[in-house]
Amino acid sequence: MLLTRRPPDWALLARRLVYPGFLPWAAVVAIGCSAAPAGGLAQWEDGGPSAFDAGAVESANDAQREAPAPGEDASEGNDATGALVVVPAAFTEENAPMRLLRTGDAIDLVRPPQGGHVVLLAAQVRNMSTHAATLRVRMRRPETGFIVAEEKRTVAMVPVPGEHATMQPDLRSRSQVSHVPLCPDYDPVDIAEQPLDVEIEVTALYTDPPRVGSARLLLVPTCRQTTEGELALCHCECEANYTLGKCITDAEAPLRSGDWP
């Protein structure tokens, strides 16, 4: 089953990127600190500031003073402070460099072993020396702050070749990057080709106190499979209002060898 898809509304996305209410998120926001960030309510219903987004705006403004403009390397602004500097990145394949991300970038929806579609996200982290970290990725609707999905895992960190004091997950296995489950999409809003507000938080383990850094940017989950069957399945599962059994297809993509015993 090949579904007709509407293209990304890049004009809308561009408007969001310059909409004053969205400005705090327009930049890739990199925040470093030496203690766990305070949590709070995410209340965007009235569009006004809340306990959470007021804090986030403050942090974002701080970060904007230090962080580069959207699209630039988000890590450079905070190097001098010694805090963790988180540079968002997408996993590409095992033993290959990650793709550093800028706000507005598309990220691939990929199919894990058992089904559904996830995005594989991680980060390069400057000013980090420990070899273990907790990686948390939270994906939200930009307009409301509604958390679509969240994933956290402990990962092994290794030095980035050629980079001073910079670590990244051990890319010999995709298990070392976050798998954010986005599809099937049971919500009334599409996942594919719609921008989401993404927060990537890295906590260095075995440090006292814990060292935490985070970055925030807009990303657009996208189906970019190269075969018709895989592409159709991605679109079907990542389209709004999924129901179990909806994506019946004869052309479902075969799994990689080794995905099951």
Partner: protein, 329 residues
């Protein structure tokens, strides 16, 4: 594997009501579960008794048809499993790929191991506990089954290092009916699996946490839940996930036993509209443990107890979404 009985379907009009629910002369550890006395009261699904060789993991998928020509509701499910069971899941058959069967058919291993074959099959019920387990639904809540709906019962037995099957394997499940007029809410289910796990020798604090949302426009109540991992699992927790809250709620489910995990019932956890669960698995393994020798002895995602790992959550809630149950990947 040697089956010593026939596929059981008792207590319904289509099957021989006099058919025994257990094999003759059962061994001491053989479970007993009498089928519902009449079709009006319910029906029983069951597997034949089967044996495992030393070192064997056996996964079988048995196919059944709901033995009624009208929609029926179920208020109580009773499950009985002989020792050695690793899990028993019953799904409603949806998209058929490589795994299928007619009423009474069984598939041993092969396609019964490939999870993509049942990736869009809604969960009916599961249990990972030896002996007898009952699931008594709240007053006015019932599981709905369609006329002649096809079900698949998947059973996984282990007779190896981490688990033993001292006698024969066997599974029996009773579905005890409710009067349609007494049903106020249908039971909904959610199955969630965290994929691409990897735990390597020496990992002592490996954590995987993710979310699964199953409520739609209205709040739901979680009635029961259980978590599933293998012997590297140390702690499995679930908490209510509110997509408007950043902070995690206190767990409503907390389990530290991998082989006889808690099947929590009567939970009563309120889930807000569009919410669901946040579930977390903690793993630890020793420096000399070995999963896949070709992969640095790491244990990766998969169903084989001896050298793979899982982090699966099973949740029962009400009222059910009218259009679908939910599987999260």
């Amino acid at each position: 594997m040697a089956a010593s009985g026939s596929l059981l379907l008792a207590g319904c009009g289509a099957a021989d009501p006099s058919a025994p629910a257990v094999i003759a002369d059962p061994p001491d550890n053989d479970v007993v579960l009498a089928p519902p006395p009449t079709p009006a009261q319910g029906w029983q699904l069951g597997t034949p008794a089967f044996s495992l060789d030393p070192g064997q993991e056996l996964q079988q998928c048995f196919f059944f048809e709901v033995p009624y020509d009208e929609a029926v509701f179920v208020k109580h499910i009773a499950i009985a499993q002989n020792p050695g069971t690793h899990h028993m899941n019953i799904f409603r058959v949806r998209t058929v790929k490589e795994l299928d069967g007619n009423h009474g058919d069984a598939v041993a291993d092969g396609s019964c191991w490939k999870p993509t074959n049942w990736s869009d099959w809604p969960l009916v019920v599961n249990s990972q506990n030896e002996g007898n387990v009952g699931l008594d639904l709240p007053e006015g809540v019932a599981h709905r089954f369609e006329p002649r709906e096809k079900l698949m019962l998947q059973t996984h037995y282990v007779n190896a290092t981490t688990q033993k099957t001292p006698g024969l394997g066997k599974v029996l499940v009773n579905f005890n009916r409710a009067e349609a007029a007494a049903v106020k809410s249908e039971l909904g289910t959610a199955f969630a699996t965290n994929q691409s796990l990897r735990i390597c020798p020496g990992d002592v604090t490996k954590t995987f946490e993710t979310t699964c949302r199953f409520a739609k426009e209205n709040p739901v109540t979680i009635f029961a839940a259980n978590g599933h991992f293998h012997s590297r699992g140390r702690r499995f927790t679930m908490s209510v996930f509110d997509p408007t809250e950043l902070e995690a709620a206190e767990p409503f489910y907390d389990n530290t036993s991998w082989d006889e995990p808690v099947f929590a019932r009567n939970i009563g956890a309120a889930v807000p509209a569009q919410g669901g669960i946040r579930y977390t698995c903690d793993f630890a393994i020793g420096p000399n443990d070995c999963g896949d020798p070709a992969d640095g002895c790491c244990f990766t995602f998969g169903g084989k107890v001896e050298f793979q790992e899982h982090c699966n959550a099973f949740v029962y809630y009400y009222p059910r979404r009218p259009e679908t149950d939910v599987n999260c990947f």
